[in-house]
């Protein structure tokens, strides 16, 4: 009994290790959990593209979406049609954060690809990006009515993003 246990043990350990390492190989090291989930969204006060000021506190009380983009970001072009489509449905306020971009470039890019944003905040030095833990563009955050970050998506969003991540939050916000 003891002997056979000792014989099986190394094999069991080997298999466990193999499973662990195989999982490590499959997981994407670029997908990091945001530490912001469940925490208050960092306050944003920034100039906007149309020369006004964006203040994130004015959005408290509604679910809103923050999309970090830039004209120099090639993956942003991939996700942009999704955002334009979302804006057409007008389900929630969408704010664009132009991350480390030159203002004329941002304006030209939005002209070319369409502007789905209610407001475009200009984070030209990337400080707001740092506060949100942005490490790549595009990134998308959804902030609930209490100002808490509920969703963080690094990389381009796809067609399932709204239905899977945002719609449940809107439904929850609608039921008192």
């Amino acid at each position: 009994m003891r002997r056979s246990f000792l014989l099986v043990l190394p094999i069991a350990v080997l298999i466990a290790l193999a499973v662990l390492l195989a999982r490590g190989l499959q997981s994407d090291p670029r997908k990091l959990d945001s530490v912001l989930i469940g925490k208050p969204a960092p306050h944003i006060v920034l100039p906007t593209l149309d020369g006004r000021q964006f203040d994130s506190e004015k959005l408290v009380g509604q679910v809103w979406l923050l999309n970090v983009f830039a004209s120099w970001c090639s993956a942003c072009v991939i996700e942009h049609p999704q955002l334009v489509q979302l804006a057409e449905q007008a389900r929630l306020p969408m704010v664009g954060l132009a991350y480390k971009d030159k203002t004329p470039d941002t304006a030209a890019w939005l002209k070319e690809h369409g502007n789905p944003y209610a407001q475009v905040a200009l984070d030209s030095d990337g400080r707001t990006g740092i506060n949100y833990g942005v490490y790549g563009v595009p990134e998308t955050f959804v902030i609930d009515a209490q100002g808490i970050v509920r969703v963080r998506h690094a990389g381009p969003i796809d067609a399932t993003f709204f239905a899977q991540q945002v719609a449940p939050l809107l439904a929850k916000a609608a039921t008192p």
Partner: protein
């Protein structure tokens, strides 16, 4: 305000401990990715503002998570990471010592039984000798 050499020294030390999130196998000291440059700038400003290294580290962790630290903090979830190798060492030591002791015990047992057998033989020989002598009388 230009940084003093001491401040630059601290920045250099601190930057080697922080992972560049864009190029994950480099520290922000080595990397010239945009974000790494920005984070170095942030760290330098905070050093100049008189913040401690610990405060700057926690500023980074609050935003990017513990992944940004090359040297993970001593915390509950990281206990396995820090303690695991030592635990393994102790475990292996216990197994080796136990195996060694058992072998010793088995060896001494055969010695004991060997002595007992010899004693038996001796006793038998003595008995036989006595029997022979009794008969000769």
């Amino acid at each position: 305000m230009n940084p003093t050499p001491e401040q630059l020294e601290r920045l250099q030390q601190l930057s080697t401990e922080l992972r560049c999130l864009v190029c994950q196998n480099q520290s922000i000291a080595e990397s010239n990715a945009g974000l790494a440059v920005d984070l170095r700038q942030q760290a330098l400003e905070q050093i100049q503002a008189g913040k401690s290294d610990a405060a700057i580290r926690s500023y980074m962790v609050e935003r990017y998570g513990e992944f940004i630290l090359y040297k993970p903090a001593y915390s509950g979830t990281n206990a396995v990471l820090w303690g695991g190798p030592f635990l393994l060492l102790v475990l292996v030591a216990v197994v080796i010592v136990r195996g060694w002791r058992r072998r010793q015990r088995e060896q001494s047992q055969t010695e004991v039984s060997g002595t007992a057998a010899a004693a038996d033989l001796l006793r038998q020989a003595q008995l036989e000798e006595r029997y022979q002598r009794e008969r000769e009388k």
